[in-house]
Subunit: 525 residues, 2 copies
């Protein structure tokens, strides 16, 4: 199993070459991180289908019956008014909104199948839909964790460090939420500091929370300022996204509806994602949970199209099952994988971009963490997802963001991107002449065919330790967790803050200070 390859020269030359692999403004970091430039992977495989066309129609039909016969509560007067005027069935004094399938389908059909979200750095513009794939970092974790300092409530330093890692790694294409919630900043002004950090510490597409109209408006205005756009330009240019979680079952809460309204009015992107946990807020059957997911997602999407026809939206799927022993959410389960694949089938049925996730329920960076996370990705990628949220750093069902987990997940994501690179099947790649040259019992390392290609032939992992057992033992038997603990600090050291026009920077500061002086946003959400 060991091979007499002459590798001394390889070990010397390969990293040097990798270190030079810089293009344009892309930073490839130190030799520890032989990154490729920022580029969204493309789906080269046909998405899988876990249900037949007839079965898909049965799910569609069931969710239409839910919308027609049962209805969804919209906890927002303006939203109900908009819906009533459009023909929805709403009894006076009630929140329940019933929509017939013709209305829903007509509205949903107004949403674009694919679109681009502009980034502050145009090289980081995000394509959503089509065959493009995007990975986002973990979002919304209340705690941060690393091995050196243990688990603690999220704070601004951790928040900023995760933003830096998200900027540093080219395989992270967007920042769809605060990686960790910085609870040391008062809730009334947290969104101001956080969005300002998004603008300053990264130049990738980001997300603002829908936690009350004021926060949406502040986030939108900060984004407009940060991007240097006029109000007229901004409303015609998707620049920022929000995630709208329905309050399953069958409810859209006030802040979420405010978010849908403000984002749609501003021409910005809403990712509508029901949190349909089979056995808890959704039926215990995967098909039933998907019926509910589909009804809720389409209700939110249809509503956004009422506010502004053609506004970009994303169909979000987050259906999983609970641990029947504790009621806690489980992730990366077989049920989760199937739901992720059918979620993709549903999104494609409505010609909508599809959001899935890379998630797990593990408490630490062990076999379980990788198994569940990779199986989540298996469902997302095979399901044809366009945005994979939480794809780096997610632990404990989202209760913590892990620094080491962030790094190990980067290796997974980079591997997926390579997996999605088309195979070279050219005459030269088929290598008949190299096979002829080497002949029986020979070795390929010495051939010109190999020498011409070996430096870039294979993906070079950042976490996987491929030393033999003896060398690895002598080095203290480090695990992937140990290596990631070292690497996340190296990545933070290598991080470089992207440039920002000083005039814009001042304008951001002025806006944040003014809004803080005004008291920020209400905290009774």
């Amino acid at each position: 199993m060991t091979h007499d390859i002459e590798t001394a020269s390889l070990a010397e030359t390969a990293p040097a070459r990798r270190g030079r692999r810089r293009r344009g403004g892309e930073k490839t970091g130190p030799d520890l991180f032989p990154q490729k430039p920022f580029k969204q992977p493309r789906h080269i495989f046909k998405p899988l289908e876990a249900v037949s066309a007839d079965e898909l129609e049965a799910i569609h039909d069931a969710s239409m019956r839910v919308l027609e016969e049962i209805g969804i509560d919209f906890l927002h007067e303006e939203a109900k008014q908009i819906l009533k005027e459009a023909g929805a069935d709403i009894k006076p004094g009630e929140d329940r909104v019933r929509m017939d399938r013709a209305m829903v389908e007509e509205l949903v059909a107004k949403a674009p199948t694919e679109f681009t979200i502009r980034a502050r750095n145009r090289a980081h513009d995000l394509q959503v839909g089509g065959n493009a794939l995007a990975f986002s970092c973990v979002a919304s974790a209340p705690n941060a964790v690393d091995r050196d300092h243990g688990r603690r409530p999220g704070n601004q330093e951790d928040y900023r460090n995760f933003l830096k890692l998200s900027q540093f790694f080219n395989i992270i294409h967007c920042v769809m939420g605060y990686p960790v919630e910085p609870v040391d900043i008062h809730a009334s002004v947290r969104h101001l500091d956080c969005v300002a950090d998004m603008l300053r510490l990264t130049d990738k597409v980001y997300h603002i929370y829908s936690l009350g109209k004021e926060r949406n408006l502040d986030g939108l205005e900060l984004t407009r300022i940060g991007y240097g756009l006029t109000p007229e330009e901004f409303v015609e240019t998707p620049c920022v996204a929000t995630v709208i979680n329905t309050s399953s079952p069958l409810r859209l809460d006030t802040p979420m509806l405010q978010g849908l309204i403000e984002m749609a009015k501003a021409g910005q992107v809403s990712i509508v994602t029901p949190f349909t946990l089979a056995g808890a807020m959704a039926p215990v059957t995967v098909a039933g949970a998907l019926t509910l997911q589909n009804a809720e997602a389409l209700a939110g999407i249809a509503f956004a199209q009422l506010v502004r026809p053609g506004v970009p939206v994303v169909y979000g799927g987050f259906t999983s099952n609970v641990d029947m022993k504790s009621g806690a959410p489980a992730f990366g389960t077989p049920e989760y994988m199937k739901a992720a694949i059918v979620g993709g089938q549903l999104a494609r049925r409505y010609h909508l971009p599809y959001r899935s996730s890379g998630v797990c329920a593990a408490n630490t960076v062990d076999y379980q963490a990788a198994l569940e996370t990779t199986l989540s990705e298996w469902g997302a990628i095979n399901g044809g997802a366009h945005i994979v949220k939480h794809a780096a750093g997610w632990l404990e069902g989202g209760l913590s963001a892990g620094f080491e987990k962030f790094i190990t997940d980067i290796d997974l994501l980079q591997k997926i991107a390579e997996y999605l690179t088309p195979l070279d099947v050219s005459e030269a790649a088929l290598a008949v002449d190299a096979i002829r040259e080497v002949g029986p019992a020979g070795h390929f390392f010495g051939t010109q065919h190999t020498q011409d290609r070996y430096k870039d032939a294979f993906y070079a992992p950042i976490v996987s330790d491929w030393r033999n057992y003896e060398s690895w033992s002598e080095a203290g038997s480090p695990t992937a967790y140990d290596k990631a603990n070292m690497l996340y600090k190296k990545a933070l050291e290598a991080y470089e803050q992207p440039s920002l026009d000083p005039a814009i920077d001042e304008e951001i500061t002025a806006f944040v200070e003014r809004r803080k002086a005004e008291g920020g946003a209400p905290t009774d959400f």
Copy 2:
């Protein structure tokens, strides 16, 4: 993220129900292992295609040029004689065999597309091909490892313990090789003791090594005795398999050809698997390595069909890449995944069953081990593999078999089997009435729909720890590795030896003793 489900009753009743889930002769083990009965999973998804039909033909054509123009060395006089008589081009005194594509394709077409390998326990008969999938345990590791005793050269006790685990877990469908090499048994008689153990400690389909004609003949005769078949019945009944590894590049060694001849003559199964490591024994390009893999696999398969037309064979793919820093084999890489998927396309082109693997290069049971193993499985399952070898317990690129790894992999395999279970999309599963009953802001746990289904609704993992962070911390923050360390011992305790007719048992003993008295088999292989 936590939910107020009433779970006290669940925790009490669910395991009891699971403990009763016994059917027929299946042992489901203790409550720690809520296994389903032995049943091969079925491919419900269309296999992926990593290359187009034209590109697949280009690989086919390139491998045909290799067989026609370059040829393969067959290091066996009888084999060359057989090939020459069939029309192959062999120069006098040389080992090089050139076959034209018409000859190769005509011979390969004689092999069956699917077949059944009989097991000693007919309930464990193995379907090979079609939509059936089978998982085999790790094979051929020189070392065994567990946390309590560290890494040591394989020995008979470890060998037997891995056989017991393979028998105990219903998700292991066959034993395709010695899980670990018991080097404490002299090589001349090792095969006798090992095959006798295969017959006694398991009743699943197993494998005999092709390490010299005498070992094949002893293994075949022991199998015939163990199965209680007459020689006439045996030759008409596939009962046992061997793996034929070509000595890449372009060589079939003497013991492998002896194995192909003896297995084919006896009507038994050969799994022809070239070991084509891109950058070492194969071209550095994945397409080139696949060209070589295809040429070598088809050469072995065509030869087997010459010996006995229609004899069952399997197309084996094991193409991976080396670590360019050390020359060591890497597994679960993006290149590996793509090669596994194209391997499936090639096998289907020739209407042959396909063997792939669940492998990694990790030295311990960490994130890397799960990541690489799961990505290997991703390639194998998406590639439509029929037999996934090394699927439980493989570590260090095959240099050790791990007891804890065996258990963590069982969780992966059971999850894959559940993932391959068709989704129930019946009217009842769509759950519109349950959604109506619960309504907005309700909870599904209390509904009859949930109560009727929750016990069997979701896969219950054996390794994944779904406790919340606090409970998990109080329990000492165990990793999956820790849990697996406990579980493998519990599984060994729960193991029960399958029954064997005492008369057959005596006959096995008598055969082994006679052959030992005769000196066993030569050790100069």
